[in-house]
């Protein structure tokens, strides 16, 4: 038997940013997870064991992530780490977990390091930014007849992944980036970046940006009369973009996997789910709530499949033949195997029209 699995209870842990720069997301992931945990526990738990979810705050700081991981792993004896947010934070925390044979299950980050290089304790669900852009860029650029493709990215691992994806995508088209420029996390002024791209006559811009920076770059461009096609990654796929940025954001494309659960959504199950969420937490759900919800949902699937003798080994064994079907939010089918630690690398395109995200393409898989 593995640590964290008791007669009546399975203890799982998660680390979120609850007070740092992306506290908004961290909180939503946590609420999404809590929603699913409560549902499962009300339905009698996993093979009779209730789920106990412990959430620690990392403030998006790798050092605090390590401290939190040490606490969860060594003190609270969690069975698995689920939905840990942030690339650097995961990289920092994983050694602590692996030393104690604790699975890193479905971290909320689309970095390739979450499944590559291979480790038996790593599982990831998110199509990597790299693959998202690599796949979407050539198609969209062709549709738009773009000549000069540029990129602006945050100068951290996340932004670089987007950039690498863009470069790989262009390479497959036999083209190159006409201009690339970066900014530091937390920047608020993008005038010189936009001026640079404008000066290079870009007509297509790949955005390795998150929320405020996406809005900032597009806003500055609109202001200075620079209007290329913008393509962001799933990091920019949040309702905040159009809520904060207003009409100026219309026309922005982003790659994504699960849909944002609008309360007035056409699809009935999503509407039902969103209302349930809103009743529970008195907040509108977002795509991050869905991530959290899905992470737990998948965990429960695997744990249930692993049977009453739940242990790390039986869990991995269950995951070896795991297929997670598309859900109500429109995610792609996820498949895992003994050497397959990423569920799916497919993603699709959405665009903001009339102040809302609309799905505009089918799932695409990188070639």
């Amino acid at each position: 038997q593995s640590q964290g699995v008791a007669k009546e209870e399975i203890t799982i842990g998660s680390i979120q940013d609850l007070s740092g720069p992306i506290a908004g997301f961290g909180k939503q992931v946590r609420l999404g997870m809590m929603l699913r945990v409560d549902e499962v526990n009300q339905q009698g738990g996993v093979n009779g064991r209730k789920l106990k979810l412990l959430v620690e705050d990392s403030a998006y700081d790798p050092k605090r992530a390590v401290l939190a991981a040490q606490k969860l792993v060594n003190q609270d004896k969690i069975f698995a780490m689920v939905g840990h947010i942030g690339t650097a934070q995961n990289l920092a925390a994983m050694p602590v977990q692996f030393e104690k044979n604790v699975i890193n299950f479905f971290p909320v980050t689309a970095a390739r390091e979450m499944f590559d290089p291979f480790h038996r304790l790593k599982y990831s669900f998110a199509a990597p930014y790299y693959d998202q852009i690599r796949t979407a860029l050539p198609k969209l650029a062709k549709d738009k007849g773009a000549k000069k493709i540029c990129a602006v990215h945050q100068d951290d691992e996340f932004g670089l992944e987007v950039l690498r994806g863009a470069e790989a995508g262009l390479k497959s088209m036999g083209a190159e980036l006409a201009e690339k420029t970066s900014y530091k996390r937390g920047a608020t002024d993008f005038s010189s970046q936009v001026a640079k791209m404008k000066a290079a006559n870009c007509d297509f811009v790949v955005l390795g940006t998150i929320i405020r920076e996406t809005i900032g770059v597009i806003g500055e461009s609109r202001k200075t009369g620079f209007s290329p096609t913008f393509l962001g990654s799933s990091a920019a796929y949040t309702d905040l973009i159009h809520k904060l940025g207003g009409p100026a954001m219309n026309g922005l494309y982003a790659t994504m996997t699960v849909q944002n659960p609008y309360l007035d959504e056409a699809s009935q199950p999503i509407r039902f789910w969103a209302t349930k969420y809103k009743t529970a937490f008195n907040e509108d759900p977002t795509v991050f709530s869905v991530y959290g919800y899905n992470v737990i949902d998948s965990f429960v699937r695997a744990a249930t499949k692993a049977g009453p003798g739940l242990s790390t080994d039986s869990f991995i064994k269950a995951m070896d033949t795991m297929v997670i079907p598309p859900d109500i939010f429109g995610s792609a089918e996820g498949r895992f195997g003994p050497k397959q630690r990423l569920g799916s690398d497919a993603s699709r395109l959405s665009q903001i029209t009339d102040g809302k995200w609309k799905v505009v393409s089918e799932y695409m898989k990188p070639q």
Partner: protein, 291 residues
């Protein structure tokens, strides 16, 4: 043309730095401490305006005075509560307290359910208005920042230079003991200073909100305002603005002409160069102890 446009965006950004730096200098002149809470007070001010507008549904023109007055009250209260008891301790103690105030402000705001962790947009009447002049583009938001900064700077400068209370504030910072001996109500002035600084922070928050959005971490721009204040000379109000402009323009040009990464450290490189060449900044006083 390109150069001019870069210059304009540099100036606009510089004014933002200058505006925050103004708050630092104000406090420094009057208490000889550096307030690390200035950026966070600015954030709180923006949140107050946001609350007034979105929760009470009042117009922008009501939210502005409300935020300023609200922040003045908060500044006053903070002084009473946590700064007055250590009035007279070494400046360093007060610096630490301001760091504490910053943490508390950020913590409290983030704790507001459903609001604190989100990013919000403040609806200002002049949003999305741009002026085009022969190919150059100027946003109304930036023009407002420039105008208000200039006015505020002039008002504060005159106040410190020529009013009795202004001089007394400086006196109290240079020698508190002697200030007491002169009958200067050091404590009351101190409350006033912090109230004023918080009000200035609120103004900065209001002006910044349309540009950077309102969120719990918006106060971090304050870190760029430190170099601005130092380049200008920490004790000089006009210096704060000039310093801000220098930093803003350097950043703007570095971002365009220099390789990646230079834009973000340009401010700090400038400040180090400045400290080596002219340790007391462009307008700083020459400080030398006579023995």
């Amino acid at each position: 043309m390109q150069v001019l446009q870069l210059l304009i965006s540099g100036v606009a950004q510089g004014c933002i730095y200058g505006l925050i730096a103004l708050g630092f200098v104000l406090i420094y002149k009057a208490t000889e401490t550096v307030s690390f809470a200035q950026g966070d007070l600015m954030m709180v001010g923006a949140f107050i305006a946001l609350g007034v507008m979105s929760m009470l549904g009042l117009p922008f023109w009501v939210a502005v005075p409300a935020a300023i007055a609200g922040m003045a009250v908060i500044g006053f209260g903070a002084e009473r509560l946590v700064i007055r008891p250590i009035l007279g301790q070494p400046a360093f103690a007060i610096v630490m307290v301001t760091i504490g105030i910053g943490y508390v402000a950020r913590g409290l705001i983030t704790m507001i359910p459903a609001i604190g962790t989100e990013t919000h947009a403040l609806e200002v009447p002049y949003k999305n208005i741009t002026l085009n002049a022969g190919g150059l583009v100027l946003a109304a938001e930036q023009l407002v920042v420039i105008a208000v900064t200039a006015l505020l700077c002039a008002a504060l400068y005159l106040g410190f230079r020529y009013t009795r209370v202004g001089v007394a504030m400086q006196a109290a910072s240079q020698n508190q003991l002697a200030a007491y001996y002169m009958g200067i109500p050091v404590k009351r002035l101190n409350s006033m200073v912090w109230a004023l600084a918080a009000a200035v922070a609120a103004i900065a928050g209001l002006l910044l909100a349309p540009i950077t959005f309102v969120h719990a971490n918006m106060g971090l721009v304050g870190l760029k305002a430190f170099p601005a204040a130092v380049v200008g000379g920490f004790g000089s109000l006009p210096g704060a603005i000039v310093g801000g402009l220098v930093i803003g323009c350097v950043e703007s040009f570095a971002g365009f002409y220099l390789p990646e990464g230079f834009k973000d450290v340009a401010a700090y490189v400038v400040v180090l160069l400045m400290l080596v060449l002219k340790p007391n900044g462009l307008f700083g006083e020459r400080l030398r102890k006579k023995v």
